[in-house]
């Protein structure tokens, strides 16, 4: 009896601690990602509209669904602190454009595929949650795609996409940190290099 009471108390404490740590609504986050992917598949990939219209729709969806200000800041890592406001602004802009042009080109490869959602997992970061999904492949095992979602003022935004354990944000962060470290031109050189790829 005493033991039972203790476990209930412990459970309550864990629950409270968990609640205080991240009060993000996992169900809403999952619905948000489902809607984004559904819109991408129905309104862009499967839509019978010219490519220019598809690109425009993609750019709009991308900007609405992803928090590029947040991601861009994370991706610059410690270099964000030393960057001037002008550099920060320009970096985010370039990073946004590069991502849009890259992904809109590759988006059509997704034709005929779909996401199977597999619930959510908690994150240690404030107001964030992972939405798990699988993408069935033509051959072999399905690919594991995890969406990192952040809630801010009741709004949900994707802040990272993790494909088979490889986080796009972390990869970019490590890559850009290495580039800046090895390049005398620093952040300006990085911005120029990214610009040349758009």
């Amino acid at each position: 009896m005493k033991k039972n009471l203790l476990s209930v108390l412990t459970a309550c404490m864990v629950f409270l601690a968990g609640g205080a740590r991240a009060e993000v609504n996992a169900g809403k986050a999952e619905t948000f990602v489902k809607n984004v992917t559904a819109e991408g598949i129905e309104e862009i990939i499967n839509a019978n509209v010219p490519q220019a219209e598809k690109d425009a729709r993609f750019a709009k969806l991308f900007n609405e669904a992803l928090d590029l200000d947040f991601i861009g800041q994370f991706v610059l890592g410690r270099n964000w602190r030393t960057a001037t406001p002008a550099q920060r602004k320009e970096f985010i802009q370039v990073y946004r454009q590069l991502n849009i042009s890259t992904w809109s080109k590759r988006f059509d490869e997704f034709k005929g595929k779909n996401f199977v959602f597999k619930g959510t997992s908690p994150s240690n970061s404030q107001g964030q949650v992972f939405v798990n999904s699988l993408v069935p492949m033509d051959q072999g095992e399905p690919a594991k795609v995890v969406w990192r979602v952040r809630e801010k003022n009741g709004q949900y935004k994707i802040v990272d996409i993790i494909i088979e354990n490889v986080s796009l944000a972390i990869t970019a962060r490590n890559e850009y940190t290495a580039f800046i470290k090895n390049n005398p031109g620093g952040i300006d050189a990085l911005i120029a290099n990214l610009k040349s790829k758009i």
């Binding site: 890592g77 240690n124 033509d138 990192r148 354990n165």
Partner: protein, 264 residues
């Protein structure tokens, strides 16, 4: 003789692995260790040139003379030849059920699936799922060690390299032809070449894309490889519910930083 060389390579690598195993966790974005970066970058550059002038053109040629249907059949057959190794690895990982599935898949697909070119077993609910020696070693709690780039073979760690050597040494294709000296080498080389070309072809779009968007292709490759490896866990790793990719993503002075940006 050839067998001896293979074993010596294995043992050399094992010795290497034991002497320099380190913690390979990359929970913190900053902690991506690469003690041999200078050496690794040179090998990476060599591999890049080799790929550019040899592997990629060959893979493109292969793509030009085959149809997607044919390439799928070849990938399927090559994958089928790996099933016995998967079955063995699942046993070593104390997973007899998956081992039995791999073995059944091998039997079914090698016969009804026309030497593995068709995946009949998948339709029966026996899903494809490979196990490697690297995964087995990880399950046994052997640390992966530092990041190393191997000539021709690419990104690796001592543990993964030993795993690859084991795979090579225990490959059923090698053993099936071992007693016939006339065809042994021919089969071994053709098999290795076909594997390499098929793999390179299937990864073409992905690597082209990664390369095009990279400002530092070496760093991007290293980061992706190490993150992918980090999903291999030790059997008694007590998970605290934290995903390996749950990096500290919070930015404390975020609002302040954006205020500054807006004001600019």
């Amino acid at each position: 003789m050839k067998k001896n060389i293979k074993y010596s390579i294995c043992f050399l690598m094992m010795a290497f692995c034991a002497s320099c195993a380190t913690d390979g966790k990359i929970h913190r974005p900053e902690a991506e260790a690469d003690p041999f970066e200078g050496f690794n970058r040179s090998v990476f550059e060599f591999n890049y040139q080799f790929d550019k002038y040899v592997m990629k053109p060959v893979a493109k040629g292969y793509r030009a003379v085959t149809t997607p249907f044919v390439r799928r059949r070849i990938r399927s057959a090559l994958s089928n030849l790996r099933e016995p190794l998967s079955a063995a690895n699942y046993l070593l990982q104390a997973d007899p059920k998956s081992s039995a599935i791999s073995l059944s898949r091998f039997v079914v697909n090698s016969t009804l699936g026309l030497v593995g070119t068709f995946d009949v077993a998948e339709g029966w609910g026996l899903k494809r799922d490979h196990a490697t020696f690297n995964e087995t070693f990880a399950k046994w709690c052997i640390k992966d060690g530092p990041y190393i780039v191997l000539p021709f073979l690419g990104p690796s760690t001592p543990r993964a390299a030993v795993g690859m050597a084991f795979e090579f040494a225990f490959d059923p294709v090698f053993w099936a032809t071992y007693n016939d000296a006339n065809i042994r080498d021919k089969v071994a080389y053709s098999y290795a070449a076909l594997q390499a070309v098929s793999l390179r072809e299937s990864a073409m779009t992905l690597t082209d894309d990664l390369e095009r968007n990279s400002v530092d292709f070496y760093a991007a490759t290293r980061s992706s490889y190490l993150q992918y490896q980090s999903k291999l866990r030790c059997f008694n790793d007590v998970s605290d519910g934290t995903e390996v990719y749950d990096f500290d993503f919070g930015i404390e002075d975020e609002d302040m930083a954006f205020q500054e940006m807006e004001n600019e």
